[in-house]
């Protein structure tokens, strides 16, 4: 487990501009972010750059973070809720090196939280920014492969195809079987992919006091949900949206409210459940 507060010695690598990206690129991304905030849920195209990590490892999120981060910030990075996984550690070290920024594992201390596939259990506050790493920003992509078509569907707010896919899931499985990357309606206008967070986290997006920024590096899209903005998970009157529940509690902290990971601990199939959010879990022990 990482130290409570990690202070990777912040000495900036002089070979790089502050925040790794050049100023022109940062301005371009900042302009895209403003438009993304002005049109909540709409995917703004941006000139995504090559980053020193492969697509799928957070190139979109890292570019958004690079464009917003400053020396006064405290950065937290999580991967599936954990601060101590490879992706999280690498990105945290990257910004400590190129942006001279303090880092932390405590959700409450962070001003910027870059995340892959989770929203922290600790409620976020006004002034915090949550940066999501997004693999496929287009929520309709699996239903309609053509970008020109999905763009038109968003323009016309023509989302019947998504409702039909949820209906088909009910017809086949008796319930909406989608458990992650569960589509949401932002401010009653745009259907948005919340990135592959478990649907357990969807309610945390709704009217959050924190600003949510989403960056997709391969697809070169940025979108946003401003604070206090309604974010509704799609459902039907007779099949309302529900989140996962567990009959077990966390083996380490006893939480019955957090998102639990199932672990196989020996070769006889013994299983236990632990919190996915390591900071939340540690603060309760």
């Amino acid at each position: 487990m990482p130290d409570a507060t990690i202070q990777d010695t912040p000495s900036q690598d002089a070979a790089y501009n502050y925040g790794y990206l050049d100023e022109q690129t940062k301005r371009m991304i900042r302009r895209a972010i403003l438009k993304a905030v002005a049109v909540p849920g709409y995917q703004v195209p941006f000139g995504g750059r090559e980053m020193p990590l492969p697509y799928g490892w957070g190139t979109g999120g890292i570019q958004v973070t690079a464009a917003i981060i400053g020396r006064e910030d405290t950065l937290k990075v999580i991967d599936q809720g954990a601060d101590d996984t490879t992706n999280a550690v690498s990105i945290r070290r990257f910004f400590a090196r190129v942006a001279q920024v303090a880092t932390t594992t405590h959700t409450k201390e962070a001003t910027i939280i870059q995340t892959r596939h989770r929203v922290p259990e600790t409620p976020l506050t006004d002034g915090q920014i949550l940066v999501f790493q997004v693999p496929i920003p287009e929520p309709l992509r699996m239903l309609e492969p053509r970008e020109t078509e999905t763009r038109t569907l968003h323009a016309l707010s023509e989302y019947g195809v998504m409702q039909v896919s949820l209906y088909e899931s009910i017809a086949r499985h008796g319930r909406i079987a989608k458990t992650y990357n569960y589509p949401v309606m932002v401010n009653g206008r745009y259907i948005m992919s919340p990135s592959p967070i478990p649907k357990f986290d969807n309610p945390k997006l709704d009217r959050s006091p924190a600003l949510q920024l989403y960056g997709a590096g391969r697809e070169k899209r940025i979108y946003a949900v401003p604070p206090h903005t309604p974010v509704n998970s799609l459902d039907f009157d007779d099949h309302p949206f529900e989140v996962e529940t567990w009959t077990e509690s966390c083996e380490l902290c006893g939480s019955t409210e957090s998102f639990l990971d199932e672990m196989i601990v020996d070769d006889t199939g013994k299983r236990l459940f632990v919190c996915s959010d390591t900071d939340y879990c540690e603060s309760r022990r």
């Binding site: 925040g19 905030v37 002005a38 968003h154």
Partner: protein, 196 residues
């Protein structure tokens, strides 16, 4: 030959731009909130520090800029061309950014509002006002606002809020606004409804 002195830009370009961007981002995320920009450059006389800060933070050679006649002075043009490299344009529809004084007449007419498929291709207008408070009270509701917020921007033209209502009705298209006064600003994205 003109001997006017060029107004200074950012003392520390990378970090000043970053702090000012976060100020503007805070304003866009919380429409109606008055955001102080302590790092704003003094700017060239006729352009407020907040407007100068906004333009140096966001404008560059990729973003054509339109200036209203009252702002379009030699020292302003020199300031923006030298520090931001911004092309200045005569046609409103070509502008990514614009600076307007007071917002009288038809303040948004002619500016790019984006398209249904690309609503992001819309202009952002900086409106210079005498004060961000003490004017007629308006009520703002929408994304970024917790319930509703009261804003009392001073010095706007009579037709301004009806024009905004028409702009808001275009959502997701429409222009976005920044009200600048001194070194403070308020943002009004197109998603926000205003009751005057």
């Amino acid at each position: 030959m003109s001997t006017t002195l060029l107004a200074p830009g950012f003392a520390d370009p990378s970090h000043d731009a970053q702090r000012l961007f976060r100020g503007v981002l805070d304003a866009f995320s919380h429409p109606g909130r008055i955001v102080e920009l302590p790092d704003a450059p003094a700017g060239p006389g006729t352009l407020s520090p907040a407007a100068s800060a906004f333009l140096l933070t966001f404008a560059d050679r990729e973003t054509p800029l339109w200036l209203e006649a009252g702002v379009d002075r030699q020292e302003v043009r020199d300031f923006l061309r030298f520090h931001a490299g911004t092309p200045l344009v005569q046609a409103r529809e070509a502008a990514t950014f614009a600076v307007i004084i007071g917002g009288g007449g038809e303040p948004f007419a002619g500016f790019a509002i984006g398209t249904d498929t690309y609503p992001d291709r819309a202009a952002t207008l900086v409106i210079e006002v005498p004060a961000l408070d003490g004017g007629p009270i308006t009520t703002w509701r929408g994304p970024g606002v917790d319930g509703e917020v009261q804003v009392a921007i001073d010095g706007l033209g009579d037709g301004f809020w009806p024009a905004w209502t028409a702009n808001h009705a275009l959502f997701p298209c429409g222009v976005d606004l920044v009200f600048a006064s001194g070194s403070r600003l308020i943002a009004l994205p197109r998603s926000v409804a205003v009751e005057a």
